[in-house]
Amino acid sequence: MRRELSSAVAVAALAALAGCGPAQPPDSLRQLEALAGAKDAEAAAETAATAWAEAQRYLALANEALDAGDAAAADRFSELGLIQGKLAMTSLREQRTRGRLEAAAEVESQRKIEIERLTSAVAAMEQLLARDRMRRHVEAVVDASRRRAAAAEEQRAGTRPGGEKLGEARLEVGREMLGRGRIEAAVLGALAAAGAALEEQKASADGAIALAEQALEREDLAVLQERVEEVGAGAHRAFAWAFEGAGATPADRISGLVEILSAAGFSAAPDDYGAAVSLSGGGKRGKQAACDDRLAALAAALKDAPRHAVVAIDARGAHPFPGLDEGKGKCQVALVVPLPVSP
């Protein structure tokens, strides 16, 4: 019994002795020391000098408290030091992030400039190619028209002195306009070339071309459409004349125009045309207004679809376009002809 008691006393004494020894450093102090020795410590000290200095001060205080055997005070100081140390590290992280943000913003800005430049270059290139494509097609139309006019002249050889010369003159107008980039006017010129092979069409063709040119100068598409109609009618009369001797029907005349357009690479079948619109139909009241509306719509469509050409023809009641005032006398038809993408 006595021995047991002595052992218990000895254990208690040992325990008391252990309590009086140097205090164990708390976890918070270890963490603070690790933070103070981290690889970014120097950078954090530069970025957030005040917070870092506070962390160092608390670290010193914690060590002092530990040396004095006050583990609780050491923990308290370490906790405060840790917060300040983390604050400094967070400031460093934010500074680096801001650097990243600035770099990204700079790259973004440069790329936007690059995109603007490329977009502009691509647009210019597309325009160049589109003009080239149009140029080739119009040249083809001019050639086809010239061939058609020549064929007509051959059929009527000797009956219309000077007709061929007039046709060539109109072709020259077409070429000249083509050279000036007046694509639409060149189409008109080409069509007029066919029409103006007739001596009696000279005045109307000349007038129509002159007005079309003026409209182009003013970029007045609505007026241009009216001239297109006029020239188209002239073209029709030329075809009528050209096919008259061969006993061609009005439908044949339309086909003649379609043939020319097809030869130039336009859509081959009438059904493939973007639109075929009746413009007038026999003088009924209100018809002209409706016709004007349609012309205006066509003009607007042409603005949005630069790869389409609009031609108007006088179908005289017979044409291959179903549903367009069939059998009701004179009928003018506008064709919106899509230009093919490749020649």
């Binding site: 308290r76 906790e79 405060l80 917060i83 300040q84 983390k86 604050l87 967070t90 400031s91 992280r93 934010e94 992030t97 801001r98 990243r100 943000l101 990204a104 913003a105 790259v107 973004e108 790329r111 936007k112 400039i113 690059e114 995109i115 603007e116 430049r117 490329l118 977009t119 502009s120 270059a121 691509v122 647009a123 210019a124 290139m125 597309e126 325009q127 160049l128 190619l129 080239d132």
Partner: protein, 155 residues
């Protein structure tokens, strides 16, 4: 003015009654109680922030310290409550700094994503330009066509 002071004191008294009825009379308890009310309000504001999810354990720690400080104040351990309130104050500064850093990271990430998307667009435009240039060469265009590097081009 007097009415305002009376009203403020009344609010403070109610708060102190809730926090530390035993230490209501002590100036330290009064000071700590006020500090804890401010800290609680700050923590609510921080918790509701858009990037609060980035705060993680630090926010939990702050909330625990707030609870501990309240308990200490209720038990009359003013000194302990004051120590926790001080620590909480520093922790709130840390949380605010973390929120600011998280916001900056969100913006930086967005800017980097935007820059990447622009790089894709540049690549698309270059491909398109190269295809057009090939077509132009194939068509034997006589007119000089615009270079990729030209900033502005006449229509």
């Amino acid at each position: 003015m007097r009415t305002r002071i009376v009203a403020t004191s009344a609010v403070l008294a109610i708060a102190l009654t809730a926090l530390a009825p035993a230490a209501l009379a002590g100036p330290r308890a009064r000071r700590v109680a006020s500090a804890l009310i401010r800290s609680e309000s700050s923590l609510q504001e921080i918790s509701a922030a858009e990037d609060a999810s980035a705060l993680g354990a630090e926010l939990t720690l702050a909330q625990r310290w707030l609870d501990d400080a309240r308990s200490a104040l209720r038990d009359g351990r003013d000194k302990r409550a004051e120590m926790l309130a001080q620590r909480l104050d520093a922790q709130i500064a840390l949380l605010r700094a973390m929120l600011s850093a998280a916001g900056a990271e969100t913006r930086a990430d967005a800017a980097e994503r935007a820059a990447l998307a622009l790089a894709d667009r540049i690549s698309e435009l270059e491909t398109r330009y190269d295809a057009l240039a090939l077509e132009a060469r194939g068509a034997q265009l006589t007119s000089a066509f615009p270079e990729k590097t030209e900033a502005t081009l006449a229509p």
